[in-house]
């Protein structure tokens, strides 16, 4: 039942937000319907598909399993925060070139997972990539091109880091 609203402060994609929400309001709904950041998708609402994956204080988390109120003060990155309207992030470029998305509904979740994964493991082999991606479901691509894209993204990021 609707309870007293609580104040939630959050930094999302570098911008500060303050909102009043019910304590039970889901983080995914908060992003999508309070902040109009609809790039984060909901595929199952029970923590299995990974479509709702965002970065919470730099670590991936499922926004369908958490309450916005519990994340008061957190720093969040959603898919909209990866590249904004600017040039694509190397991970996005790799997905584009490999045709690693079809309907694209799962893609925001895969991008968040990949970005975190390649930070912790910049030079993964295919097995490690496959393992890292099991947190996200895709029904269109058969994962083959996603795995290729992550391999390629790792290379791009390493090369970028060398140049920088």
């Amino acid at each position: 039942m609707s309870a007293k609203k609580v104040t939630v402060r959050m930094k999302v994609n570098g911008k500060d937000y303050v909102r009043e929400v019910e304590p039970r309001y889901l983080m995914a709904d908060f992003l999508r319907h309070e902040l109009q950041l609809t790039g984060t998708h909901i595929g199952c609402e029970h923590g299995v598909c990974g479509a709702c994956t965002v970065l919470i204080n730099g670590k991936t988390g499922r926004s369908c399993l958490q309450f916005a109120a519990a994340l008061d003060g957190a720093e969040i990155t959603t898919v909209e925060g990866i590249a904004g309207d600017g040039p694509l992030h190397p991970v996005q470029e790799a997905f584009h070139d490999a045709h690693a998305l079809q309907c694209g509904y799962c893609t925001p979740g895969f991008l968040m997972t990949t970005i975190e994964f390649l930070k912790t493991n910049p030079e993964p082999d295919r097995d490690e990539i496959q393992q890292a991606l099991t947190n996200n479901m895709c029904r269109c691509t058969g994962y083959v091109n996603i795995i290729d894209a992550v391999e390629d993204a790792a290379k791009r990021l390493r090369e970028g880091a060398r140049e920088a």
Binding site: H96, H99, C103, G104, G142, Y143, N145
Partner: protein
């Protein structure tokens, strides 16, 4: 006019324009659309019973909840929405209609019993638990065999039994021909019940205009025009005031190619309340109520000559319709597909089939990628291996003995389907070569045990029906399935091009590939072509995107339509240049006279003349504007083909199947965009791996659904994907425009039988007979355990 052979952009990988907005999180899926003011959110109360009488519905507590607008039952809606049913005209089919919200009786778990209308989705969810419904549970039935038993409860009284569809066919003197075989083999195969599991569940939103005469329905459907017709029919509103628009669609796979009760309901409610109405499905509802598929039992009996030639085949197919026929296919869809596709790439001339479909207290079944074909090929390809085992022949040789040879095309199969071109034997040979089939067989021990695991190899050589035209739907009873698709190609006043197509993309990349096609035909860059589809108000009428028809029918109409506009462009340019239009060439965004290279016009200059934006005027008899419309009804069907060869290892310790080699040969005729075709093959193949090894919706005997979540209904993850080795053959169709064949389903159709055959081969040394999918570890383990136990007891 440009010959098909002169394609410059068709056949090239162009990276998709869709990707940028999808990857930036800017796509507008249904639940991402801006919400209109005064939006009503609805939720459905679902039946917890497989079969029960509804004695009473008390919604007073729910209605009292703040934010709840109303709670409606089936009775409340009966005046607004007619009982729902597809239009099927085929002998042996019995009409069954359903109220879109149950009235006195529920017939499956998940059936809608009441609708909550609320100011917010949270309020609607809260109210769900407060609707007090008094049910009187009744005896129920879930499986095919149980439904056919004489004492089974009858779901729909007017049928008298649970048979909703039954038909049969046989060629002349079938029994005599059958008797001519040297040996007879018979096997019963089974496929589990599966469903599409698009990562985006369904949902829809109806939005009346302020005076509530015109209505827009946003729905992620693969068949917007058919949805509009069905809603107009069942709500008694003119089609002209209803507009169906597809937002971005998060995967379809056939599951979104149905008309669903909720689509009728949101429109009816929006009319009644004069407010926008929105519904978003959750995953549990997806698994409980969206169209399921398969759950087939196939009994195949063949008479075979000693050299392995199939002399005659009799296929008996039983399917489970669920509680009601889905719209627009009914259970005839998979049933007729299975029996009509079974002859596949083989020379089967004496054929008999029997089909029946039963109603049960389970969710309605319908379309899903592959439709009947994984079943047909599980049977015939499984039989090829059994013939080999029985006659001591290599199963590859049995296929070689029966496969249609290159010189036999065009070939008309035993049920009258024309195979215009194909690469059936080349594809088979290439697949075998890719995995080193001969070497594997030569090294394979009789007991199949290598390094502690049973290792086997399986083949599926298949045909893939695609681009079905009107005649193909009519023979199967789909009286209201148009078959054609259409397009309108417009050269705008500025010389840029807009292509309106009657289809609806669900991830296939139409916005890129249809632009490639039009650009190719009109000699412009593909970036200058915009594609509009999924909107009944903007595009001409058509059938939609399912059953591997997008490229064949959509692609075909865009070719034809672009060429029609090309004729007018040349005619006007010819007048402007004082040159014979026939010799003008469209290239690089210009109309060029090859005999005088200095004389050329930009498309914009031609368009300005067509739109009366200069002083030139049009030639006598020429109409203004620069566009054309085309309706393309393709042949009855167009057959793509391919071969999967799979090598597996089965672990006797836990029954797990590991795929060690996987070769796919694929022939979909003329390819428009190779990378996109590759994506279709990958995606379908991995769905096939899911259907073969893990996916199954489980009902208990009473019809209680046991796994309506993604922890218990398993779909493949990245860990389940083997290294797929792909090889393409390109044998253009001679019957379709552009030589295009479909590509979306073959991967799944090939995978299910090939994997089952590989496991079957691996366990053949043990004497295990694999006849069903999915082959989940517990099942496989149990088969191995039993076989070993029998062996031990017989050795004692």
């Amino acid at each position: 006019m440009k010959a098909i052979e002169d394609f410059t952009l068709i056949g090239k990988t162009v990276l998709r324009r869709e990707d940028s907005y999808l990857m930036r999180g800017k796509a507008q899926f249904l639940d991402d659309l801006p919400e209109p003011k005064g939006l009503i959110h609805i939720a459905f109360v679902l039946s917890p019973y497989a079969r029960a009488d509804i004695l009473s519905v008390d919604a007073s507590a729910a209605k009292a909840l703040p934010g709840v607008i109303d709670v409606l039952t089936g009775k409340d809606l009966a005046g607004d929405i007619k009982t729902f049913a597809p239009v099927i005209e085929i002998d042996g089919y019995h009409d069954v209609r359903r109220p879109v919200v149950a009235i006195d009786r529920v017939n499956f778990v998940g059936e809608y019993v009441a609708v909550i209308l609320a100011e917010s989705p949270y309020a609607a969810q809260d109210a769900l638990d407060l609707v007090d419904i008094d049910y009187d549970p009744l005896p129920s039935v879930a499986g095919i065999k149980a439904a056919l038993s004489p004492d089974a409860p009858v779901l729909h009284d007017h049928l008298g039994d649970n048979l909703i569809f039954r038909t049969a066919f046989e060629t002349e003197d079938f029994d005599a021909r059958f008797a001519e075989g040297d040996v007879v083999l018979e096997e019963e195969f089974q496929l589990g019940r599966v469903t599409g599991v698009m990562i985006e569940p369904r949902g829809c939103m109806a939005w009346p205009d302020p005076i509530a005469t015109n209505m827009t329905l946003w729905t992620p459907t693969q068949i917007p025009h058919i949805v509009r017709t069905a809603i107009a029919d069942h709500l008694d509103i003119p089609e002209s005031v209803l507009r169906v628009v597809t937002p971005a669609v998060g995967g379809g796979f056939g599951t979104k190619a149905h008309v669903y009760p909720d689509e009728l309901i949101v429109v009816a409610l929006a009319r009644r309340y004069g407010r926008a109405v929105k519904w978003v499905q959750d995953r549990r509802e997806d698994l409980l109520t969206n169209a399921h598929a398969r759950e087939h039992i196939l009994k195949l009996r063949v008479a075979v000559a000693n050299d392995g030639e199939i002399r005659a085949a009799h296929l008996d197919v039983r399917t489970n319709c669920g509680a009601y026929p889905n719209h627009p296919y009914s259970p005839t869809l998979e049933a007729t597909a299975a029996v009509r596709m079974m002859p596949g790439p083989y020379r089967i001339r004496n054929y008999k089939y029997d089909v029946c479909s039963v109603t049960t207290n389970t969710a309605p079944t319908g379309a899903y990628r592959g439709t009947g074909q994984p079943s047909a090929f599980l049977a015939i390809e499984g039989m090829m291996d059994r013939i080999g085992r029985r006659l001591g022949l290599d199963p590859a040789d049995v296929r070689r003995r029966n496969v249609i040879q290159p010189e036999e095309f065009p070939y008309v199969n035993v049920v009258g389907v024309r195979y215009d071109t194909g690469s059936y034997s080349q594809s088979l040979e290439r697949g075998l070569e890719m995995v080193g089939y001969d070497a594997f067989r030569a090294a394979q021990p009789k007991d199949r045990l290598v390094d502690g695991k049973y290792r086997g190899i399986g083949i599926c050589n298949y045909t893939e029906v695609s681009g079905t035209g009107a005649p193909g739907w009519r023979v199967r009873g789909f009286a209201k399935m148009p078959g054609f698709d259409s397009s309108r190609v417009v050269v705008e006043p500025d010389g840029k091009i807009t292509v309106y197509v009657s289809q609806a993309d669900a991830g296939q990349g139409h916005y890129t590939t249809f632009a490639q096609i039009a650009a190719d035909r009109l000699g412009v860059s593909w970036e200058d072509v915009m594609v509009v589809e999924g909107d009944t108000a903007k595009t001409p009428y058509g059938t939609g995107t399912f059953a591997s028809r997008g490229s064949v029918v959509g692609g075909g109409t865009v070719i034809r339509c672009s060429d029609k506009v090309g004729v007018k462009i040349r005619r006007i340019a010819g007048y402007m240049l004082n040159a014979d239009p026939e010799r003008l060439v469209l290239k690089d965004g210009r109309v060029i006279d090859p005999e005088d290279a200095d004389r050329s016009l930009s498309l914009r200059e031609v368009a300005e003349t067509a739109y009366s934006m200069n002083n030139l005027g049009l030639p006598q008899g020429e109409e203004h504007g620069l566009e054309a419309t085309d309706y393309y009804d393709p042949p009855m069907v167009t057959m793509a083909n391919g071969t999967h060869v799979v090598q597996v290892a089965v672990d006797p310790e836990d029954g797990r199947v590991e795929i060690e080699r996987y070769a796919v040969v694929h022939d979909c005729g003329r390819v428009i965009n190779p990378k996109i075709v590759e994506g279709q093959v990958h995606g379908a193949t991995v769905q096939g791996i899911g259907e073969a090894l893990m996916e199954e919706i489980v009902y208990d005997d009473e019809g209680q659904h046991l796994n309506a979540n993604l922890l218990d209904y398993l779909i493949p993850t990245a860990m389940d994907v083997p290294n797929l080795e792909l090889s393409h053959i390109e044998t253009p169709s001679i019957d379709t425009v552009g030589g295009i064949k479909g590509a979306a389903e073959g991967g799944l159709t090939g995978a299910v039988p090939a994997i089952a055959n590989a496991v079957s081969d691996a366990l053949s040394g043990l004497g295990v007979n694999i006849t069903r999918v999915p082959l989940r570890p517990a099942y496989v383990f149990e088969q191995i355990r039993q076989a070993r136990a029998e062996r031990e007891s017989s050795e004692q």
